[in-house]
């Protein structure tokens, strides 16, 4: 970009063309007062505080909306400007109930800061009359408080909601003198289109919008601020936990504008769902089950008990009879230590974690096509893509902050958005083209798109010949995969498939974003391979703002995979079946290792049925709610001889355990998470753990040591140092380097700057490999008895099995319980009305839940979120597996739905 040279208060400054005077001044440390500016929204120029004098221009000019120009001379303040600013502030104060004495915002308030700077007299133009106390749109909100008496009508909250979040919940209402922020018709916030991201609270420059739960619990200056990484989804937002040093509790959560990857944005979970940390339901002491009842135990007793039982089982049935489930919620350090424990101390590769249930097919598919199973590109590249193709990802619900980048790309940068999803997800609003494929028919759609791209010759011939192999094998199977043929399978009109293919192929850069809608199928690996084919066909790999981008679900599912919590690879995707690598780890860990790959999650459960697995050590996972075909899973948990649950709550799974070990949550420990864009980021201890809870890695080290394999580290940083020595892609990582901003792997050495996008110039595996993929039906198709296709998924307000989110009053207000979505016509046919209790039945089970009648789902299809223990969707789902990745088919099964005979 062109740089321009100009002058601010006598100092020569250069800045890129288009920079505003306000921002340029900020860059050189001059704070031009501003009360309605935020870099994330368009300037609105409502406060008029930022006026400056520009040489040669009459009068004053606002600096927040004026770009710098070559040779411009700017005076940011003189006596006249200062006097005007003071008057403007005194006017604002005459309309603002000054209550710094009891205001949460005291000390962190721009209005207060400027009033002080200009010595503005709050009473000069009289004190404002207080408005009659009457309910406003936020009065009944658990999350947000709005005080119109303190509102300076800067409009930042309204603009944030409209421009960044695009929820368009907030607006101004009322006549002059009584203007205030409101919702459409003043409806309650939690019933509006608000998504409770808290952006309005965060952006408010005065104390008018506040975190309701934090009122009176401490001003920012009384609180301790700890920068850490969000414990929910894989976006990895950088959050600041503000804790009360006296009580040690989290008071509120904020985020800093400018931080990577979220730029100060959050979603409802990061902002409002940290109540679980201080919940009184937290486990505080080890528990041992005696005579069917849990009894409190000391750590010595518990560790001794676990070590003894494991040793005993190992000597009786062999190391292969023990399995461990590591955790995508835990840190990289915890995961590393856990898999090392299973491999080196126990002596088996039977270690896996819930990535099996979400992205095993991604890891398998992308590794085969590209050589690396992770998101190819970075989050902030999405907004600059020419085309964004979203398939099987309800991005705004499951990865809300990435959803913001998608919306920014479309609304600000003119990206063409293509959405393919069985449900009319929110992003469809922004799409150039929305298509609804029947669940489980993605391969047919993608094959037909490629058929069009090839027959219309809009593919990248150079890329294919220089960078890929096996294109010739792909062609034949695509030959008769016409859009018409795909229409019969997917129900998408052929013309729309053509249009989709053209939009995708003709863009300069096209970024594919997908998630579990692609992976959780018996054809999950095939789906992923198809997407890889599509991207390579159009030359969309190995460059910025393109690629194939699986969005990882859990905060650290990427890290858990990276660090080898998988049965077939050591940390860094190094195969356990490669004897050289085995030798390398044997010498690093000073122990003989097994060269046989271990069992996957669902295989472990099935192996218990066959008496092959006798002991299961589960760290921070809840298979009793998260796994498919729950009845079967729960039987296994019941059956296994010895079950350890190491967790922060007594989860549904822990109830089956023989020993429960209390661990600490993300806010209570140091370590790192790796987000979905491969960025390793710091997790920092902000509060003290409850009772005797301990770090996961510490507990594991103690068990290992007790079992005769000494493990000990002085801190999480030491573990990371060890990781770096054995994991080439993490070779350059250290706590010191990622202190301020995380680093993206591959980062092989201490000088390496990290990698923004993969496969530049050459693929990880050398050449990108095309895999011809035949369309296969899902494992279970609807029939007479089970006429519906049931698909499952996530919801913005909940996370995973709800153990964390459902402790938040804010969340419970908007998402109290589960439901099944059913099309209006189907509901009418079954005489089911909205909100009514219904029964959903599959071959595996029956669940009672509430009907949500909607036009956003196609006829014949049902959707259920899987978070709710009172209506567990996974009682219903199919545990048929993808043959390669062993991922179960959560996304498609045949179901029936019935009106309840009598009210329950």
């Amino acid at each position: 970009m062109k740089e321009v040279c100009f002058n601010i208060d006598g100092t020569k400054v250069t800045a890129p063309e288009g920079t505003t005077i306000l921002e340029a001044a900020k860059g050189v440390g001059i704070d031009i007062p501003n009360l309605c500016y935020d870099s994330r929204v368009e300037p609105a120029g409502t406060c008029r505080m930022c006026v400056v004098q520009i040489e040669g221009r009459p009068g004053l000019t606002i600096s927040c909306n004026t770009p710098v120009a070559e040779g411009m001379e700017v005076c940011t303040e003189n006596a006249e400007i200062a006097a005007i600013r003071r008057t403007v502030l005194e006017l604002i104060l005459s309309d603002h109930r000054v209550a710094c004495t009891s205001c949460d915002k005291d000390g962190a308030c721009r209005l207060q800061d400027y009033a002080y700077r200009y010595q503005a007299d709050e009473g000069r133009f009289g004190l404002p009359e207080r408005r009659p106390v009457k309910p406003n749109y936020a009065t009944n909100s658990e999350g947000i408080l709005y005080d119109p008496d303190k509102c300076i009508l800067c409009g930042l909250c309204v603009r944030y909601c409209e421009e960044v979040q695009k929820a368009e919940a907030l607006t101004f209402a009322g006549r002059l003198g009584q203007i205030e922020v409101s919702t459409a018709f003043g409806m309650d916030l939690h019933e509006s289109t608000c998504v409770l991201c808290g952006g309005c609270v965060e952006i408010c420059p005065a104390g008018s919008m506040l975190d309701r739960a934090a009122i009176g619990k401490g001003r920012e200056k009384d609180l301790t601020r700890t920068r850490t990484t969000c414990a929910y989804c894989g976006v990895g937002c950088q959050l600041d936990l503000l804790t009360d040093p006296k009580t040690g509790r989290i008071v509120k959560v904020t985020s800093e504008v400018g931080c990577i990857p979220n730029n100060g944005n959050m979603c409802v979970k990061g902002k409002f769902a940290m109540d679980f940390v201080g919940s009184d339901k937290r486990l505080t002491t080890p528990l041992i089950k005696r005579n069917g009842k849990f009894e409190e135990a000391t750590w010595e007793e518990a560790i001794e008990f676990v070590a003894e039982r494991l040793k005993q089982i190992r000597s009786e049935f062999g190391a292969e009879s023990i399995a461990g489930l590591s955790s995508a919620k835990c840190t990289n350090e915890d995961n590393y230590v856990f898999q090392k424990f299973i491999r080196a101390c126990i002596g088996t590769n039977n270690v896996d974690h819930c990535a099996r249930l979400c992205h095993a097919s991604t890891v398998a598919g992308l590794a085969r096509a590209f050589g690396s199973g992770a998101m190819t590109n970075s989050i902030d590249e999405i907004k600059d893509a020419g085309c964004i193709f979203i398939i099987g990802s309800n991005t705004t619900e499951a990865h809300p902050v990435i959803g913001l980048y998608v919306k920014e790309g479309v609304m600000k940068n003119g990206a063409e958005l293509l959405v393919a999803d069985p449900r009319r997800i929110d992003l469809a609003r922004f799409a150039k083209l929305y298509i609804a494929q029947k669940p489980g028919t993605d391969v047919a759609l993608i094959n037909a798109m490629m058929n069009v791209i090839i027959s219309e010759e809009i593919y990248d011939k150079d890329f294919i010949s220089e960078r890929t192999e096996d294109f010739e094998k792909l062609k034949p199977i695509l030959k008769d995969f016409t859009p018409e043929k795909a229409e019969a399978i997917t129900t998408i009109p052929a013309e729309k498939i053509r249009a989709a293919a053209r939009i995708y192929a003709k863009a300069d850069t096209a970024s594919i974003i997908y998630s579990m809608g692609i992976t959780q199928h018996t054809t999950g690996t095939d789906n992923v391979l198809s997407l890889a084919n599509l991207a390579m066909l159009t030359g969309n790999v190995g460059k910025a703002s393109a690629g194939v981008n699986p969005l990882r679900g859990q905060n650290n599912v990427q890290g858990a995979c990276d660090l080898g919590a998988l049965p077939n690879v050591y940390p860094g995707y190094q195969s356990v079946e490669d004897s050289q690598l085995q030798t390398k780890f044997e010498s690093a860990w000073e122990q003989k290792l097994s060269g046989r790959k271990g069992l996957t999650v669902v295989e472990m459960m099935h192996a218990i049925e066959e008496d092959k697995i006798k002991a299961l050590y589960i760290m921070g996972e809840n298979p009793a709610l998260s796994d498919p075909n729950l009845n079967r899973t729960r039987k296994s948990l019941e059956k296994v001889d010895f079950l350890v649950s190491q967790d922060i709550f007594l989860s549904e799974t822990a109830e089956y355990a023989d020993v429960v070990l209390p661990s600490v949550c993300f806010a209570e420990k140091d370590g790192t998470f790796t987000n979905t864009e491969r960025r390793v980021q710091r997790v920092r201890k902000a509060v003290t753990p409850p009772g005797q809870a301990q770090s996961d890695w510490e507990i594991i080290c103690e068990v290992a040591t007790k079992m005769g394999y000494p493990m000990a580290y002085g801190g999480a940083d030491e573990i990371m140092d060890e990781i770096a020595t054995v994991t080439p892609i993490y070779g350059g990582m250290s706590f010191e380097r990622i202190d301020k901003v995380g680093l993206q792997w591959p980062c092989p050495d201490k000088e390496h700057p990290g990698t923004r996008f993969l496969h530049e110039g050459t693929f990880k595996r050398g050449k990108g490999k095309f895999h011809p993929v035949e369309y296969k039906n899902p494992d279970e198709l609807p029939d007479e008895n089970y006429p519906f296709v049931l698909t499952t998924g996530r919801q913005l307000y909940q996370f995973h099995t709800g153990t964390m989110t459902r402790k938040s009053p804010v969340i419970n207000q908007v998402s109290p319980t589960g439901y099944v979505e059913i099309h209006t016509d189907d509901a009418a046919g079954l005489e089911i009305s909205n909100g009514e209790k219904v029964e959903v039945i599959t071959r595996r089970g029956k669940v009672t839940t509430l009907a949500r009648v909607t036009g956003n789902i196609e006829k014949g299809w049902l959707f259920m979120p899987f978070h709710f223990r009172e209506g567990p969707a996974n009682m219903l789902t199919n545990d048929a597996l993808d043959p390669t990745a062993k991922i179960p088919e959560f996304k498609v099964c045949a179901a029936a739905v019935n009106k309840m005979k009598q009210p329950v």
Binding site: P43, T46, N65, I84, T87, V88, D95, L153, G155
Partner: protein, 419 residues
């Protein structure tokens, strides 16, 4: 001084919406000429004629059109601003009622010149009969092939929508008007972007005053040279002056620009002051213009002369105040109106207008102090200096100028208390 009938020549000579009466007197000649000339030549002619806006801001019309015409793709709009909310201004109504076809012809030529297929006329919500007339006019125009597709057999397609305004002063401001047309809150917006870049629904838009558009067919029909013979150097043509206040006869008069002085105009057309007392002050450009008094009333009726005299020609709404009334009274009357009209968007205007109103009420009620006068000056100055739109920049002007010209009136009001 003599009235000159250029724009108002047909007013009262036919019965709108009768089109024949209009055509019989040279109507539609300009439109036909324009269609033959092509858009670019039309814009050139308007530029050469030196036409400037009559809505108050005085922006040159040709360049404004050229900016919108410059955007070649997508939807563009033209809006005829018939809000006419400024105090002491009622000249647009004369044209809207008396020769609406002239205004419509101006709209069509403008739409043709800039390439706008959709046009609006936004009429003051209190002009009920005018709105009714325009509704009928549109029906007639469609029948006559003057709206819709293939206008007058050409390729031109233009549609016109008549919109009844919210009846707020602020909706006359172009960006507030646009917001209101978009069914949003009637509030102004930040400039840039200007309406010519991002106007209605984010598309390039021309907003022109009624009188401005009425000039357009006249210019094309009479020819630029003939048009430029009227007026003075740099300010060609005529203007419709509204005359009101303490005069014997109020009314709207079309005058050649610069044909006489302000004082002469008031004397000759208004028949002198209502009560026969000397003139105390005059607002030459509507209720938000600064006061002129004494010798400055001898300024010529041109924008430049009025500016030099210390005020602005604004909407050419001349409001006369005769001796006998305190400036505090006068200002109170004005602020009573403007005090409710801020759109509330920017802080100084939204709050300042209310504070100024409160302080003037206080001074008027005999409870003012020197500090209050100082506050009036400071608030007024800040609003003028930093407000977003013409409302905030202008409403304090009469207050500030009254404080300068008639300090004794304010002091007298204060002294009443101290005494």
């Amino acid at each position: 001084m003599k009235e000159i009938k250029l724009l108002t020549r047909r007013v009262g000579t036919y019965e709108p919406p009768d089109l024949k009466g209009y055509e019989a007197q040279g109507g539609l000649v300009a439109l036909k000429k324009a269609l033959a000339m092509g858009p670019e030549s039309v814009i050139d002619e308007i530029k050469r004629a030196g036409l400037v806006g009559r809505g108050g801001a005085g922006f040159p019309t040709g360049p404004k059109w050229a900016m919108v015409a410059g955007e070649k793709q997508g939807q563009k709009y033209l809006i005829c601003n018939a809000e006419e909310g400024e105090v002491g201004t009622f000249k647009d109504k004369v044209l809207l009622d008396g020769d609406p076809w002239l205004v419509l012809e101006g709209i069509l030529i403008g739409a043709f010149a800039v390439g706008a297929e959709k046009t609006y006329i936004y009429i003051n919500g209190e002009y009920d009969q005018t709105i009714e007339l325009w509704d009928r006019l549109v029906v007639e125009a469609r029948k006559a092939g003057l709206l819709g597709d293939d206008i007058l057999g050409s390729k031109l397609s233009v549609d016109l929508q008549v919109v009844k305004s919210k009846g707020l002063y602020i909706t006359g401001e172009e960006l507030a008007l646009i917001s209101s047309l978009e069914m949003r809150r009637a509030a102004s917006r930040l400039k840039p972007p200007y309406p010519t870049e991002k106007g209605l629904f984010g598309r390039p838009t021309v907003v022109n005053n009624v009188e401005t558009l009425a000039n357009v067919p006249v210019i094309l029909a009479e020819g630029v040279e003939a048009y430029r013979r009227l007026g003075v150097e740099g300010e060609p043509g005529t203007r419709l002056f509204s005359l009101s206040g303490d005069v014997k006869k109020s009314g709207v008069y079309e005058l050649e620009i610069g044909s006489g002085t302000l004082a002469e105009f008031i004397e000759e057309f208004g028949g002198g002051t209502a009560g026969g007392r000397p003139i105390k002050a005059v607002q030459p450009g509507g209720g938000t213009s600064r006061f002129l008094a004494g010798d400055s009333l001898k300024c010529k009726l041109t924008a430049r002369a009025i500016l030099q005299a210390g005020s602005g020609i604004g909407t050419a709404g001349v409001i006369v105040y005769e001796e006998g009334k305190s400036a505090v009274d006068i200002v109170k009357g004005l602020i009573e109106f403007y005090g409710f009209e801020s759109c509330g968007r920017c802080a100084p205007c939204r709050i300042g207008v209310v504070r100024i109103k409160e302080i003037i009420d206080k001074v008027f009620g005999g409870e003012g102090t020197d500090e209050d006068l100082e506050q009036l000056r400071q608030i007024g100055k800040a609003c003028v200096a930093v407000s977003t739109c013409g409302m905030g920049q202008a409403f304090p002007l009469p207050v500030l100028s009254a404080l300068e010209l008639f300090p004794q009136d304010f002091e007298a009001a204060i002294e009443k208390v101290s005494a």
